[in-house]
């Protein structure tokens, strides 16, 4: 066992370029959303983009909490020294939740974002708009129950996210194994709840945009997307912190582990994506193929770009062991994967909301930049509130000596 001279009280200072750039990005975001709302014809497209980014933001943060829980339940040692990064993401979750619920609520009441199941007369047999399929689903897809589910699920995730973070703070102050055993227990409970509710959360938020269509794989497909994008975010934050001179205890074996995670879950994402596509393609039933028909007719470029960015790029670039251990290659792949999942969400959300009137311009890029800025600002300011290492974590020595 080597000796280490790391400063366990090292704290991130959120100043200078990072702060200026993230505030500038937020301003760009607000300006492009304002531009989107200034033209009446662009309202729906702006709302679809807001939903996309708010969903992405919330998913990345809640998967940060999921990362914490997985590490505790697996009793993983390697990650003990990097846990403060996902903790900062988990502490940001309540902000993301408020934004997501606001976007969904406003979209539902002012712009009919979920117009496939929430429009006048859809469930009224005497109306001209009556839709038998939607009426059959109305016990599940109705506004109070829908919003109730969103609020309950997201509150539970936020509760556990804050709890796991709080227990880690207590561990810093008190030491001992008490916090660790509690974290283990609450992580087990959280994982069970999370596993059963995230598919429903994805069905509600994204799949119900096209309420006539359904796929039972959709929940896991979204879970894979949010989990791999969260892992890529964690890796990006750690690499950038290291480049700025923080977290020098993170060595390339930690990067290797994160790289394996991103590699593995990119393949898992492809597996679920293909399983969903393949069965629909093979059975060839009109009520199911309509989903891919729209994407293939109006979104062909995005459809294939999605596979290139989320499957081919990580698989080819991260297959080699040495690539996983190099900061710059990892950073590049993580950014490709993060942009790739934007494309993934884009072709999940757009065909159900703006149909063929989609675009890629100021609104899309500006909203994305704005949310990236917001994410950076909130996560970095919550990261700066605690030391960058959980100094009393029972597996800390294992993590510091981690070597693959």
């Amino acid at each position: 066992m080597g000796t280490h001279n790391y400063n366990f009280n090292e704290q991130f200072e959120f100043t200078g370029k990072a702060k200026t750039l993230s505030i500038a990005a937020i301003v760009i975001g607000i300006a492009s959303i304002a531009y989107g709302f200034s033209d009446h014809g662009l309202h729906e497209r702006t709302f679809a983009n807001l939903l996309l980014m708010a969903y992405y933001f919330a998913c990345v943060c809640m998967s940060g909490a999921f990362f914490l829980a997985v590490q505790f339940v697996a009793q993983a040692g390697w990650s003990a020294s990097i846990l403060r990064v996902p903790q900062a993401m988990a502490r940001t979750l309540p902000i993301a939740v408020v934004i997501l619920i606001a976007v969904i609520g406003l979209g539902l009441y002012t712009h009919n974002l979920y117009h496939h199941w929430n429009a006048p007369g859809l469930t009224d047999p005497s109306s001209a708009n009556y839709d038998k399929l939607i009426d059959g689903k109305s016990a599940f897809l109705n506004v109070p129950f829908f919003l109730g589910r969103q609020v309950v699920f997201l509150s539970i995730y936020s509760f556990f996210a804050l709890l796991l973070s709080k227990l880690s703070t207590n561990e810093d102050l008190e030491g001992g194994l008490n916090s660790y055993t509690k974290s283990f227990k609450y992580s087990c409970i959280f994982l069970v709840i999370y596993g059963f509710t995230t598919p429903i959360f994805a069905f509600d938020t994204v799949m119900s945009l096209e309420a006539h269509w359904f796929s039972t794989m959709f929940g896991w497909y979204n879970f894979a997307a949010m989990w791999v994008s969260s892992l890529a975010t964690i890796a990006v934050i750690i690499i950038l912190l290291r480049k700025a001179g923080y977290m020098q205890w993170v060595n390339n074996s930690h990067l290797h582990n994160l790289g394996q995670f991103i590699f593995g879950f990119s393949i898992f994402w492809t597996y679920v994506w293909f399983a969903q596509f393949m069965l629909i393609y093979y059975a060839n039933m009109p009520e199911e193929t309509v989903y891919f028909y729209k994407r293939f007719e109006f979104y062909k470029f995005w459809f294939f770009l999605n596979l290139v960015m989320n499957f081919l790029a990580p698989v080819l670039l991260l297959m080699d062991r040495d690539n996983k251990r190099q900061e710059n290659i990892m950073l590049g792949v993580c950014i490709i994967v993060l942009c790739g999942h934007w494309v993934d969400y884009y072709q999940m959300i757009m065909p159900g909301t703006v149909e063929s009137h989609n675009g890629f311009g100021i609104i899309e890029i500006g909203t994305a930049i704005g949310f990236v800025g917001l994410f950076t600002f909130t996560v970095l300011s919550s990261l700066s509130k605690k030391p960058l290492i959980a100094k009393n974590h029972p597996f800390l020595q294992e993590s510091l000596n981690h070597h693959l």
């Binding site: 293909f274 596509f277 393949m278 393609y281 093979y282 060839n284 297959m319 070597h403």
Partner: protein
């Protein structure tokens, strides 16, 4: 020239064995191999063992599988005997993918199991090659080639000094399998 082929230093503790490796290396005595009952961290770097090429073999086994599966399906269902299955074109690539995927894994697994048997001489009917049976139980063995390194008493001394419980001089490379 003595007919001693290998000198085996048998250690009860992995740290003492690592120390023994260092001692031998300091005296420029080439180590033939080290046998341990469990994986020991950092031993590859210490012994200067080259990186395994298993991953490259796995890749080529896998690619062979992908190509074989594609060739099989293509020749049977596109070239030789076209079927109308659900109105799909004969060359329907998405249908091929699951089979190509599975055969890739199958060939990769077979290739790796085969290479494992080949490299460990564990083919059925063959006696396994073991230098010291207790290396599979509770002892950590350093094997030194006695023909290459002349001064046997010096090697014995170094191994003993490092904490070897027992030093054996073997006239055969491998013990027979009892």
């Amino acid at each position: 020239m003595s007919n001693i082929k290998y000198i085996l230093g048998s250690f009860g503790d992995p740290d003492e064995m690592m120390h023994g490796i260092e001692k031998l290396q300091e005296n420029n005595i080439k180590i033939h191999d080290v046998y341990t009952p469990m994986p020991i961290h950092g031993i590859e770097a210490k012994l200067g063992i080259k990186r395994s090429r298993l991953d490259i073999l796995a890749f080529f086994c896998g690619i062979t599988g992908t190509v074989s599966a594609f060739a099989l399906i293509y020749l049977t269902s596109v070239v030789d005997w076209r079927h109308n299955i659900g109105g799909k074109p004969a060359f329907a690539l998405p249908d091929f993918i699951p089979i190509m995927f599975e055969v890739t894994i199958l060939f990769c697994a077979f290739g790796l199991v085969g290479s494992y048997y080949a490299s460990t001489h564990l083919f059925p009917g063959r006696a396994p090659r073991v230098m010291d049976l207790r290396a599979t139980d509770d002892r950590f063995i350093i094997a030194v080639d006695a023909q290459e390194n002349g001064d046997h008493s010096k090697i014995d001394g170094l191994l003993k000094e490092a904490g070897a419980i027992e030093v054996k001089h073997n006239e055969r490379k491998y013990i027979s399998y009892e």
